[in-house]
Structures are given as structure tokens and as C-alpha cells.
């Protein structure tokens, strides 16, 4: 299931519901991305007071569903959940949650990491960090492109 939402969510509650819904899957892997309180640019030194996540409504959901489908075609999965927030976020809030359920832990782990890697380079979200120095759009990292591309070599 794909959910793109502005309101905060409770990772523990979502994970418990996912586990209950997949009670016969022996292996559940999850990833939680949290807002950090320091700016991502190497030249910056300030602390982040707010993170603003812009997205492309409609395309976001399509891309996340495409990524989840791709994961399901590569590994044996019982279920997948992706929750991603947009709008203003504050440090320590959860930005993203990915859960995968499988009979095998290797499949659950690989699919969860794959979804995060592809999400980073193809889901249409853009981050703007607000700090005492002002606000700045976060630059994409080449290392993320490499991570996403490596899955095609596996």
C-alpha cells in the first residue's frame, strides 16, 4: 500500500498494524527516515528548524507504486507498505516508512533497501531546509544515483 500524506504518522503503530496484517510472514523488514536537526550541505553549519517537503501530487503516488511493483517482481514478498510525508516537518519527525513482509528475511531486507534506494532517486519529492542562515533546497547526491543503479547490476 502507498500513502502520501501531510499529517504526521506513528511508525510504531503502522508497523504493528503491518505485522498483524501479515501475521504469517516470518520476516518483516522496515526502514524509518527521520528529519535530522543539522543541515545537509557540507558548507552549512546551522541547525535545521524546519524541513519543507514539496512533491508532485499524482506522480508521487504513481512512482511509489511503480517502485513497489518492481520490488514485488524481483523478490518474493507477501506485502509492502510505503508512507511518505510532504509539507512542513520538524526535526526528529518521521519522513518516510517502508515495510516489507516475506517468508524469507533476505527478500524482506533486499526489497526494503531497494525501495528506499529507488525512492531517493525517482519519487518526486524536494526538500528545503530552514535554518537560522535562511532556507535552502537540498542538493541531490551522486552517491544516491550509484546506489539506485547498483540494483540493476545485481
Amino acid at each position: 500500500m502507498i500513502r502520501v500524506r501531510q499529517k504526521p504518522f506513528d511508525p510504531g503503530d503502522e508497523i504493528n498494524a503491518f505485522c498483524t496484517h501479515n501475521a504469517n510472514s516470518g520476516a518483516i523488514a522496515t526502514f524509518i527516515g527521520q528529519v535530522r536537526d543539522y543541515v545537509s550541505s557540507e558548507s552549512g553549519t546551522g541547525s535545521v528548524s524546519e524541513l519543507i517537503l514539496e512533491h508532485y501530487p499524482g506522480m508521487t503516488e504513481k512512482e511509489l507504486a511503480r517502485i513497489a511493483d518492481e520490488a514485488a517482481s524481483r523478490w518474493s514478498l507477501d506485502d509492502t507498505l510505503v508512507i511518505h510525508r510532504f509539507g512542513p516537518l520538524t526535526p526528529s519527525e518521521a519522513i518516510v516508512l517502508v515495510c516489507t513482509a516475506s517468508a524469507h528475511r533476505g527478500d524482506a531486507f533486499s526489497a526494503c533497501e531497494f525501495i528506499m534506494d529507488w525512492l531517493k532517486t525517482s519519487a518526486p519529492f524536494w526538500k528545503k531546509e530552514v535554518s537560522p542562515d535562511g532556507s535552502e533546497w537540498v542538493e541531490a547526491r551522486e552517491s544516491d544515483d550509484h546506489r539506485a543503479a547498483e540494483w540493476n547490476a545485481k
Partner: protein, 88 residues
Amino acid sequence: MPAIDVLYFAWIKEKIGVGQEQVSPPGTVKTVSDLLDWLADRSAGHRSALSDRARIRAALDQTHVPLDSPIEGAGEIAFFPPVTGGAS
């Protein structure tokens, strides 16, 4: 060519000043790249936002495409910087 909805996101939207506009480019505009050239002439903001092609990505009808893709038949074209969602 029929009218196309053009969408802008992140700093591209900020430089242009609008997030969406409807345009009707001439028939000589055949690719995404042609459209960027044509849009750049609309204002100083457009020129500033759309000049650095290495930092621009495009989607045709909500699907990622390379800049040399033909635009014929597209109803919605979006321009945005490389995406930065997810987490660390």
C-alpha cells in the same frame, strides 16, 4: 499543437514565480529540450530557472523522461531538479 500544462517544482518554481502555466508552443517545438528553449524566452525568471540543463529533470504525463524525448501527445509536462525525498 494543442495547449500543454507545464508544471514547475522546487527552485525552478521559485525562480519562475508560478508552479503551473498553460502554453501553446509552435509546431517547431518537438522535444522536451525544444520546449525548454522556447519557455526560456518567456521571462528573465524562466531563463534563469531553465538554463542549466544538467540540473533539470522532466516528466511527461507523470513519467520520468530524458530531455530529448518527443512531446507530441503530452497533456502535462513537469520540470524539476533531481529529486531529494526519503532519508539519509
